[in-house]
Amino acid sequence: MTTVGDAARVWTEHRAHVVATLARRLGDLQMAEDAVQEAYLAAARCWPVDGLPDRPGAWLTTTAWRRALDDARKRARLLSAGQPALEATTSRDRTPGDATTDSGAAVGLDPVAAADDVLALVLACCHPALSPEAQVALTLRHVVGLADREVAARLLVAAPTMTKRLVRARAKIKQGGIRFEVPTTDRLPGRVHEVRAVIHLIFTQGYTDPEHGGPLCQEAIWLARQLHRMLPADNECTALLSLLLLQHARCPARWVAGKVIPYDQQDRARWSSPAILEARRLLAESPVPGPYGLQAAIALLRSDPDREPAWPMIADLYAALGRWDDSPVVHVNRAVAVGHADGPHAGLAVLAPLLTDPRVAGTPALLAAHADLLERAGEPEAGQAWERAARATSNPAERAHLRHRALLARQTGT
């Protein structure tokens, strides 16, 4: 017996595909969402009565397309110039009048086309002409399928602000001429690079809030997984998924009893082994390391619950990463790794030029690394250095942790 719950579950599985196909046909994301929403309501009514259709995706796409056409006919101004032709008769865009059965020839039923459509949707939501905030919001709203207010809650933004942001972003896509299509091969790598950056940004937003950020991390991992599925030959996409799995695997050990537990003190039995195993397997299949590959390799070296990380190798990997990505954060991380591999004074030597580098001076990451190295070197200014790091961060969990380190450092006299 098909329940409304079953209908909801099946809809969730197909939602992104249906939205993507409609968006490509209509050139309008909001119209696509409205039509898909109506198709969902129809499914919730019909499926418990008639049972699940053989091909629910096709059923949903066809139903949504019919609704979209009905709505379009009511809106005379849609027929003015500039709108992608609703009357298009390419082989993929036949009118839904043809599609009363589940035959493969009917509209929206070509599964290969549907997979391509989701990639096109993701690429459009992550187009470089959109601001990072817009890219993140659009991806969470239209690819992941969160409601406006859920996106707002995830990103700690007021709901009306988020709605406005989404409306503006969709207007830019439509009026600016961002197409829902997978670009030509020479443009594709750059566009996929942008998608990886957006997914990583979403994950980072979740990761920096260990108390509440779980759902965002999981949604980022889901996105990375879809991207990997759609582009299985892209090693950097594989590496991104692995990296997120490895970082997220440590979350159960990272936030305990309302406190951030640093890596060295985590209860490794709490690390998620299925996630680590999956990441290891994925990385074994993709040998050519780009920037995410290197980061994933580093994360993998830190993910063995029974062994200390191989710090010299990690230091070398950070050096390699620095050649791809000259950002000072990478150099800070290399200093930390060198501190573990060759002793805190060696680490301090690597860190020294960064203390005055305007790109990173005064940031919590740098100051915390500095304080940690000072403490391990037995320097008396370590306590003050931890205090400086605590003052530099606006993240309450991080600040509490850094203040605690300052307290400990003062107690032990360093």
Partner: protein, 120 residues
């Protein structure tokens, strides 16, 4: 879709060329225009006289106010514009990236509102 490419000189560039049209060689602009034309995407375009020739007009409370120069001190130094007709934003961005002064200046890409053409 039609796009306006607004081409600006960067006033903060380390070495602003004395004559902005000499970034590279002046023929670069002619070659670029010819490329737009032979691709069939050129709708129009003009170079503009230098920003010192600008005059700003406003009417406030019935009074016409005329002043020398641009409206704001910080207004970009516009060199000129092209109007192109291409299938998507990505195509417009690709053309914008080939504008001869794009290594020191910048190009704003604005979509034109469809159906709003004023034709003589």
């Amino acid at each position: 879709m039609k796009y306006l490419l607004l081409i600006a000189n960067d006033p903060d560039a380390w070495d602003p060329p004395a004559n902005p049209y000499d970034d590279g060689v002046i023929e670069d602009w002619a070659l670029y225009t010819a490329a737009l034309r032979s691709a069939g995407v050129l709708v129009g375009g003009h170079a503009l006289h230098g920003r010192d020739t600008t005059t700003t007009v406003q009417v406030r409370e019935g009074k016409r106010l005329v002043s020398d120069g641009a409206y704001a001190e910080t207004t970009e130094d516009l060199l000129g514009y092209y109007l192109i007709d291409v299938p998507s934003l990505d195509d417009a961005l690709d053309w914008a990236a080939r504008v001869p002064n794009v290594r020191t200046g910048s190009v704003e890409v604005r979509p034109v509102t469809p159906g709003s053409e004023a034709v003589p």
